[in-house]
């Protein structure tokens, strides 16, 4: 399988990465080189094989459903590019 320029632009948008028109061809070539490389996986018979979900077998650990953290709003917004009153500030979303 290989991707065309329109697919590259669609994927860039899905990934939320602005891709200038001039960069599309190079990205397309690189992605197609990768897709060509992984094509050999089609040789493998995977009939009846379970996909891996956990590389080391272990039961999911659980903890009590209690509040054990919090009251650290100032720490959480400390690195924000823009914040106000412990809120993250973003461009207007709803008109």
């Amino acid at each position: 399988m290989s991707v065309d320029a329109a697919t590259v632009k669609r994927v860039a948008h899905l990934a939320r990465i602005a891709l200038p028109e001039g960069d599309v061809a190079k990205m397309q070539a690189e992605i197609n080189a990768m897709l060509g490389f992984v094509e050999q996986l089609n040789e493998v018979n995977v009939d009846g094989v379970e996909p891996m979900t956990s590389v080391m077998p272990m039961a999911m650990k659980k903890r009590a459903d209690v509040v054990n953290d919090g009251e650290i709003a100032a720490q959480i917004v400390k690195n924000a590019p823009q914040s106000e009153d412990d809120y993250f500030m973003v461009p207007k979303v709803v008109e």
């Binding site: 939320r16 996986l41 272990m58 903890r63 461009p91 207007k92």
Partner: protein, 517 residues
């Protein structure tokens, strides 16, 4: 030269010499009060300043080091102190350090200063270690040569024989060599004696390949052995922390401090951490060592073949039994990795959106702000991997790529399980297909050329197993080459015992000269 200058030089030489000690030699020297933690820290701080050409450190923290060293001296004077008391380390910039800038060597994190400490580094400070600074790496650990860092390339302290690049541009005959990646700052710093040991991380070979390229030792423990909490995530089902050190023993001591259960990481395993140093010197007599035929790749250089045979001979001489084995799905590990790892990365890196931390580029609306921020903040390699990951997870392609790759991963793991069930204790392979190459020599036209560096290491991540790279020989250019040992899950002790046999036979690989200083 006046007397006072001569005295100062003597003192500098004495202090610089402290940097050539191994971690465990320095530990023993501190306990014997042969020198102080402050002297040890000062010697390393001076060495780091003299080696800025190598670009191993992206942030030097001498004031933190001296403060920690003073605290260690106070403890040592009272006969107290932890397993790493007073020992100066370098920290890969993927580990969050409270109050100290952490960037993953990406512009998108900008001047991110964590308000929390990664579990692993927290355990190092608990045990008394001293932080010299943050080490360079490939951006978000994506790379095999440390050429994707936003702070620029790291230089390998090893040079090809006959190279005279230290005399400046007029005398350049070759080019600087890469230190491997993604933990290239860690490997370069340890090899150049800019720290006694370093933390690193390994997603597809990022501890073992840079260790192999620099004559240092690096171990990726079993998945779940070290907590991933507070380490910038790349591919969560593959990422593991581990050390790079100057000797097998140093890595054993480091790994013990780095390991252990952490309630904050649900994939960290709640089993006891052995005293790995006790495995050093343990007999390997009667152990079954598998030699997988699939690792004998077409076009393998004769010097790698010889290295492998040397390793076989050394382990045999120590009483191990060598058996030929087959791991039939080996060749599919790298292509499966290049689906699984980008898929997980595309998900993990979705958090860098210009809202909560790091870089923000203004946009006409919020989506435009996201797209411009991510376009400006991520480097080329990272963008490509996010794009591939997004594509293989997108509607209509998920089954063909991601699901199939995860099924192949099951088969890769089963290959190993079958071999271990048949009584094999560990597997011996070369660590890399070649010695260190020059900066700019690989991957500029086709990314796959660079990815092939990890062909021997990536299977281990796919199966979650422990793997160690230990230097064992040199190529015809005089550069170090390494062997890899792969172990059963959570049996790092066997890897340390076997690696020690190789280190005893091959010797350590200290850097021949401090040409940069």
């Amino acid at each position: 030269m006046t007397l006072s200058t001569a005295a100062r030089h003597d003192r500098l030489n004495h202090m610089t010499d402290l940097t050539i000690l191994t971690l465990t030699e320095a530990r023993d020297g501190l306990r014997a009060k042969a020198f102080s933690a402050t002297e040890l820290a000062k010697a390393h701080i001076a060495a780091v300043e003299d080696a800025r050409l190598l670009n191993a450190y992206v942030l030097e923290t001498p004031e933190i080091a001296l403060k920690q060293a003073a605290a260690s001296d106070a403890k040592l004077a009272k006969g107290e102190g932890g397993a790493l008391e007073g020992l100066p380390l370098g920290i890969k910039d993927l580990y969050c350090t409270a109050g100290t800038r952490t960037t993953a060597c990406s512009n998108i994190l900008g001047n991110f200063v964590p308000t929390y400490e990664s579990t692993v580094t927290g355990q190092l400070w608990r045990d008394g270690a001293v932080m010299l600074g943050k080490l360079n790496n490939d951006e978000f650990a994506m790379g095999s040569s440390n050429e994707t860092s936003c702070f620029g390339n790291v230089i390998n302290p090893w040079r090809r024989e006959g190279s005279n690049m230290d005399v400046g541009s007029a005398g350049i005959e070759g080019t600087y060599l890469v230190p491997g990646g993604s933990s290239g700052g860690s490997s370069s710093a340890v090899a150049a004696n800019l720290c006694l040991a370093a933390t690193a991380t390994d997603t597809g070979g990022s501890i073992r390949q840079p260790a192999a390229f620099t004559g240092t030792v690096g171990i990726k423990p079993t998945y779940g052995r070290c907590s991933r909490w507070g380490i910038v995530a790349f591919a969560s089902s593959l990422d593991q922390a581990g050390p790079i050190g100057k000797s097998v023993r140093d890595c054993a001591v480091m790994l013990r401090s780095m390991s252990g259960h952490d309630p904050k990481d649900t994939t960290s395993v709640d089993i006891a951490v052995p005293d790995y140093e006790k495995a050093i010197g343990r007999s390997v007599r009667g152990m079954k060592i598998g030699i997988p035929k699939e690792y004998r790749i077409v076009g393998m250089p004769a010097e790698i073949e010889k290295l492998w045979q040397d390793g076989i001979n050394w382990l045999k001489a120590a009483g191990a039994e060598i058996v030929n084995i087959s791991l039939p799905h080996t060749k599919y590990a790298l292509p499966a990795y290049y689906i699984v790892a980008p898929a997980e990365a595309s998900s993990n890196l979705a958090r860098y959106d210009g809202v909560r931390y790091g870089l923000r580029e203004q946009g006409r609306d919020i989506a435009d702000m996201y797209e411009k921020t991510r376009a400006a903040g991520f480097g080329r390699e990272v963008k490509r991997r996010i794009m591939i990951g997004t594509y293989v997870l997108s509607a209509g392609y998920y089954d063909a790529y991601y699901l199939r790759a995860q099924k192949v991963r099951t088969l890769i793991k089963k290959d190993f399980e079958d071999i271990f069930a048949a009584g094999v204790h560990a597997i011996l392979t070369p660590a890399t297909p070649s010695a260190a190459f020059g900066i700019g020599e690989k991957g500029s036209a086709d990314p796959v050329e660079m990815y092939l560096n990890d062909i021997f290491t990536v299977t281990v991540n796919m199966a979650g197993l422990p793997g160690i790279a230990v230097p064992a020989g040199r190529d015809r250019q005089g550069l170090p080459l390494a062997l890899q040992l792969i172990g059963r899950p959570f049996d790092e002790e066997t890897l340390f015992a076997l690696s020690e046999v190789i280190e005893q036979a091959a010797g350590r690989f200290p850097i021949p000269s401090r040409w940069w200083a």
